[in-house]
């Protein structure tokens, strides 16, 4: 079981738009809510009202400052959850077969009743996508809301991961990345979607769309100048110009 499938029928995953993510943590909490109530054990919280509150989360939003050479520093919000890698190292290290990659859609899951909580899968994951739940003693990770996306008790339009459904800025997209014609694959192609840590050789399914170029006004100064060509230098001149212009209307 912990051998990876040669190929999956589909490669479901997320495309996360770093150009649009405002860092609001909506996806983080929506995920926490859904997965506390659904798939497997609840996501527990230790010392929730105390000095060192620390709970299990399957999705967390980082933030980074990026300093270009000749422009102001930028702030990039960076949501991160399981990337459902094609070569998922977390799966092959699992001694019990609890971790596996589904053949039909490529989702990497933990079968909690087989998990011994050894933590090795979390060690093997370069992205920090897996967290051991301290109350339950089993490994928790993003399920891509496998209990939503096929859920016949939900209206069709709600059959998306909770994080995607809730994202206010529309920075999260869900779909089949093995289908080149899917919306997500097109987004990746158009916007130069990228892998995280490609050198780790994990071949992530989830892709990140890089921020669009920022603060490019300096390059446009000459183009913009004609828009401020003066029609008058002082009030009398401006009023005369207004009169003349209104005549023409």
């Amino acid at each position: 079981m912990t051998c990876l499938p040669e190929q999956t029928t589909r490669s479901l995953g997320l495309v996360i738009d770093l150009d649009t993510c405002v860092g609001c943590h909506a996806c983080v909490i929506s995920c926490k809510g859904w997965n506390t109530e659904n798939y497997g054990a609840p996501l527990s919280d230790q010392d929730p009202y105390g000095a060192d509150p620390s709970g299990t989360f399957l999705n967390r939003v980082h933030s980074y400052e990026v300093q270009p050479d000749n422009a102001p520093a930028q702030l990039v919000h960076f949501p991160k959850s399981c990337l459902h890698c094609q070569d998922a190292p977390c799966v092959t290290v699992c001694p019990t077969g609890a971790s596996y990659k589904r053949t039909e859609d490529g989702i990497v899951l933990v079968n909690e009743s087989d998990c011994i909580g050894c933590g090795l899968c979390a060690w093997a994951c370069p992205y920090g996508a897996r967290e051991l739940d301290l109350a339950e003693g089993v490994m928790k990770k993003c399920t891509l809301c496998v209990d939503r996306i096929y859920n016949e008790n939900l209206p069709e339009e709600d059959r998306t991961p909770a994080c995607v459904r809730t994202c206010p800025a529309g920075a999260r997209h869900f779909g089949d990345l093995s289908d080149p014609d899917s919306d997500v694959s097109r987004l990746v192609a158009e916007r130069g979607g990228m892998d995280l840590m490609p050198e780790q050789g994990t071949r992530p399914v989830n892709k990140y769309l890089p921020p669009r170029p920022r603060d490019s006004w300096q390059g446009e100064v000459d183009v913009l100048a004609p828009f401020l060509e003066p029609v008058a230098e002082e009030p009398r001149g401006l009023l005369a110009w207004i009169d003349k212009t209104l005549e023409k209307l």
Partner: protein
């Protein structure tokens, strides 16, 4: 080996109950999934006009708020000294009897001695109605320390402002210019809007000292120096005027730019509009050259109109705009340094606005007719959408800065046109259509009208015949004449000082005044516990209602415990702050999706009970029996005007159910529940733009009961009421300001916006600006009791720009002492490069008092977290004249939080805790559990 079988279609819930979120002020629609009678999961409601299915972190964490261990459980009577947190639980009867025992004698003798102020109240039309029936002039909500500058400037200028009042046209805008915004103000709609703009390839420019949140995703960031936004905006106006990049047709038809001014300096009306016998402002008709009333059908007002009479030339407002803003003092070169920008940056921004507005206008092929009867074949718009809130508002120059922003929008022709900014019903609604303030208390009588309003001149001020303030917060006085939301930040300070008079009972709802909602927090805690020479508290009685064990609880004598937002009825009313969108009027309800499991009651129901026990008019029938059983009963059956009640949906007409005007419907709430908790009244297509002047919109507004007669109006580039106050300060009229305020009124209440530097400490001694902002995942103090949210923001560093980190030899995790003219704090620091180089900031209201919110003593909120409030005084430093000058905008009284200036030093010996540190209060609800494994599934 086969794959494990995964249950991919588990039962999601037994039932979905749709109500309105209250995790911040945005009022999104939520689907509450119920399992076995318990709340199991909360998600956004896809059909809801505000959030269309999405939900922020706070909203999704509602389940942790609803179940928070900090929930109050029963009415409480204080048994220890004020501030100790020692209480004993009492019955509701005892609690209400106590309140009646305090309030009844007051009403009969001096109703103004009750000060009733509500914080993040979403039922102000109800609480205001109650206060009016009681008869005290001392009522307001938290607007005065929030964003009243924005609201007031918008309403006086264009009959609407941002957020509930108006929103960008996300579908057509090509350039979006965003100034400082508090995140809870329209949070999901702005996120959705920015997402939509990005999807459409529109450009987003952020003007903000801090590049976080929305500014982080802005294509261009302008890291302006705090408090100088007005200067930047007027410089943009200067550039656009000079280049003739203004919408002449729009200005002529829809604004008071062509209105003629009395230009004779000797006239008592100097600077007021020329009016005809009917009092209508005059314009010159371009076709005939005649002087006519502004609304004469068929005319084309002349922007550059003027008329010569008795040797004096009376010119149009446009002349004055040209004269004011073409002045070289507004040239980019002249302002850039003060704004912390380069002249090139300012010019480029002006040029981008010009290009976006005039190079590629939005044209919608949709004919419409204006109020003068002119038929327009198409709707032509300027696709520049501008939005702003708290960031430019919370300064002592905020009113005029907000005014300047609206002038810029209007000059571009970008308000109520496609691609610009649009109003949400009941707006547009000009200042004259709003009530005037009322403040004359009479023993045993209700107040003669609503408390809050929009003064048109000195005659509307809330002053006694002796010229003394009638209100405890000194709203609507010469100090801040247009204080349309009151000055909640001054209530405790004034009541403690007995200035203008002493009060007896302070009654607060949802206002954490002993902590993050006050400036000068430590000072306020002292005022609340201070005693007179007899050992009696200077503020004799304090009643407080809150659902949670907030810091304020410890300072009250009587606690009326409220329910959580999932246990209550509420109405988000068109009489108040509804959830309308530019293309629809909409209101909503909350309803108890679960019943409380504690001895708590919804505050509004308690207020009705209290009102009935006090015998307040409207709350008892002729026989003295309560008119309303509870708030739900009020929501359904109260009528403010005939046919107009708190909710506009599913009212009764002769022919059956109707929206808008109609008589009460005993099953109205059921209809709301069946419809997902809200009601939408769509605006006809023809009426969706140009609303203030659009006949179709005006007719629709009357039909739906938003107003009683069509009332088209002009945008007020020149605000005449301000000029009326100036005239008084210049010595005209019966109502005269005190001498010490004459210069302030003359200099700052100008009818065309200006910029002045806020008076906030010497830049030499206090060279650095300090700001707070609300994180997207937390709503003021509420978030810290939320087990999920407090993991995201459990403490707050002070963010310093790289320059200041280096200058002071600081590294991440070091501590710094931050000093203002008011006080000193010692706090941990962290570097941020994407920050104005002369500005520091922190997250608002993460710091907590030990013992509050059912947190354990070592909670990082109370050890590493801190409030910036300690550095901000509600008063300006004494000027030596013996007067108490409030730290507020001189026009509106808005609390000037963001004028704060400080100096920094590295704390060589880091303290164990943030300073100042306060003793723990006793928690009236104990402390939360050690572990949560929340799950309602069985």
């Amino acid at each position: 080996m086969a794959q494990p079988r995964v249950e991919t279609s588990p039962r999601v819930s037994d039932e979905v109950r749709k109500t309105t979120c209250y995790m911040c002020a945005c009022r999104c629609g939520i689907n509450v999934h119920m399992k076995d009678g318990k709340v199991a999961y909360i998600e956004g409601n896809r059909d809801h006009p505000v959030n269309k299915g999405v939900l922020c972190a706070k909203g999704s964490a509602g389940i942790m708020q609803h179940n928070a261990p900090s929930r109050l459980r029963a009415p409480l009577k204080r048994v220890g000294p004020r501030g100790s947190g020692r209480f004993e639980e009492i019955s509701w009867d005892e609690a209400l009897d106590t309140a009646v025992g305090w309030l009844k004698p007051l009403r009969e003798t001096a109703p103004e001695k009750l000060a009733f102020f509500t914080g993040r109240d979403q039922s102000q039309s109800f609480t205001g109605w109650w206060a009016q029936a009681y008869g005290t002039p001392n009522f307001a909500a938290h607007g005065g320390f929030c964003s009243v500058n924005m609201a007031t400037a918008g309403i006086y200028t264009m009959g609407g402002a941002f957020w509930e009042f108006g929103a960008p046209d996300w579908e057509h805008a090509k350039l979006f210019l965003l100034f400082g915004v508090a995140e809870d103000h329209d949070s999901n709609p702005i996120k959705m809007g920015i997402g939509r703009l990005k999807e459409r390839g529109a450009k987003v420019i952020g003007v903000n000292p801090i590049r976080s949140g929305y500014n982080a995703v802005a294509d261009d960031w302008i890291g302006i120096t705090p408090g100088t936004d007005g200067l930047l905006i007027l410089s943009l106006v200067h550039c656009l005027l000079k280049a003739g990049r203004i919408d002449l047709d729009y200005l002529a038809r829809f604004t008071n730019a062509p209105v003629l001014l009395e230009c004779n300096p000797k006239s008592p009306d100097h600077g007021l509009f020329l009016r005809d016998a009917d009092g209508k402002p005059q314009v010159i008709d371009r076709a005939t050259g005649k002087q006519v009333a502004w609304d004469t059908p068929g005319i084309m007002p002349d922007l550059t109109g003027h008329v010569r009479r008795a040797g004096v030339t009376h010119t149009s407002v446009m002349h004055h705009i040209a004269e004011h803003y073409l002045d070289p003092q507004y040239a980019p070169e002249a302002v850039a340094d003060r704004c912390g920008l380069t002249p090139e940056r300012i010019r480029a921004l002006a040029a981008e606005l010009a290009r976006a507005a005039f190079d590629d206008p939005v044209v919608i092929d949709r004919p419409w007719t204006d109020f003068r009867g002119d038929r327009h074949d198409r709707m032509v718009g300027r696709p520049v959408a501008i939005h702003a809130m708290r960031g430019i508002s919370a300064h002592a120059n905020g009113f005029q800065t907000c005014r300047a922003l609206h002038i810029l929008q209007i000059l571009l022709g970008a308000v109520e046109t496609p691609g610009g900014m649009r109003f949400k019903p009941p707006y547009p609604k000009p200042a004259e259509a709003h009530p005037r303030p009322h403040a004359r208390a009479r023993p045993g009588q209700p107040l003669n009208g609503p408390h809050l309003g929009y003064p048109q001149g000195p005659e509307d001020l809330a002053l006694s015949d002796d010229g003394l303030p009638l209100r405890i917060d000194k709203a609507f006085t010469w100090e801040n004449p247009l204080s349309a939301h009151g000055l909640m930040h001054m209530v405790i300070s004034n009541a403690h000082a007995g200035d203008p008079y002493r009060i007896d009972t302070l009654f607060l709802y949802m206002a954490n005044m002993a902590w993050n909602s006050s400036m000068n927090t430590a000072g306020v805690m002292e005022m609340l516990t201070d005693t007179d020479e007899n050992g009696d508290y200077k503020i004799p009685r304090i009643i407080y209602s809150d659902a949670y064990s907030s810091e304020m609880v410890a300072y009250a004598d009587l606690i009326l415990p409220d329910t959580t937002y999932l246990e209550r009825h509420d109405c988000i009313s068109l009489l108040d702050r509804p959830i309308s969108e530019p293309e629809a009027a909409a209101d909503a309800i909350r309803w108890p999706v679960v019943e409380p499991d504690r001895d708590v009651r919804g505050f509004q129901s308690v207020l009705l009970d209290l009102g009935a026990r006090l015998g307040l008019p409207g709350m008892i029938d002729e026989g003295g029996a309560p008119t309303y059983a509870d708030y739900a009963d009020y929501i359904q059956n109260h009528e403010r005007r005939p046919g107009v009640g708190p909710l506009a949906g599913w009212r009764m007409s002769d022919t059956g159910l109707t929206h808008g005007r109609g008589s009460p419907n005993a099953a109205q709430i059921d209809s709301y529940i069946a419809n997902g908790g809200f009601c939408t009244l769509h605006i006809p297509e023809e009426a969706q733009y140009f609303k203030p002047w659009n006949r179709a919109y005006q007719d629709w507004a009357v039909t739906t009961g938003l107003c009683d007669t069509a009332a088209p109006y002009l945008f007020q580039l020149y605000v005449e009421p301000l000029r009326r106050f100036q005239r008084a300060a210049e010595g005209h009229g019966d109502q005269q300001p005190p001498d010490h305020l004459r210069d302030q009124i003359k200099g700052k209440l100008t009818p065309l916006p200006l910029w002045y530097a806020p008076d906030a400490g010497s830049p030499d001694t206090y060279p650095v600006h300090a700001l707070t902002q609300r994180p997207m995942a937390m709503y003021h103090s509420w978030g810290s009791q939320n087990a999920w949210l407090r993991q995201v923001h459990g403490h707050n560093p002070m963010y310093l720009p790289s320059r200041l980190m280096q200058e002071h030899g600081l590294q991440d995790g070091d501590w710094a002492r931050v000093t203002s003219p008011q006080g000193e704090i010692t706090v941990p620091v962290m570097e941020m490069a994407a920050l104005n180089p002369n500005t520091i900031w922190t997250w608002n209201a993460i710091g907590k008092r030990k013992g509050a919110w059912a947190l354990k003593p070592g909670a990082p909120e109370a050890t590493k977290g801190f409030l910036l409030n300690h550095l901000i005084h509600e008063l300006l430093p004494p000027k030596g004249d013996g007067l108490r000058w409030s730290n507020s905008d001189p026009v509106t009284g808005q609390a000037a939080w963001f004028d704060l200036r400080v100096r920094l030093e590295k704390a060589e010996a880091p303290p164990e805790e943030s300073r100042p540190a306060f003793d723990a209060v006793t928690s009236p609800v104990g402390q939360g559990p050690d572990q949560l494994t929340w799950q309602s599934k069985t």
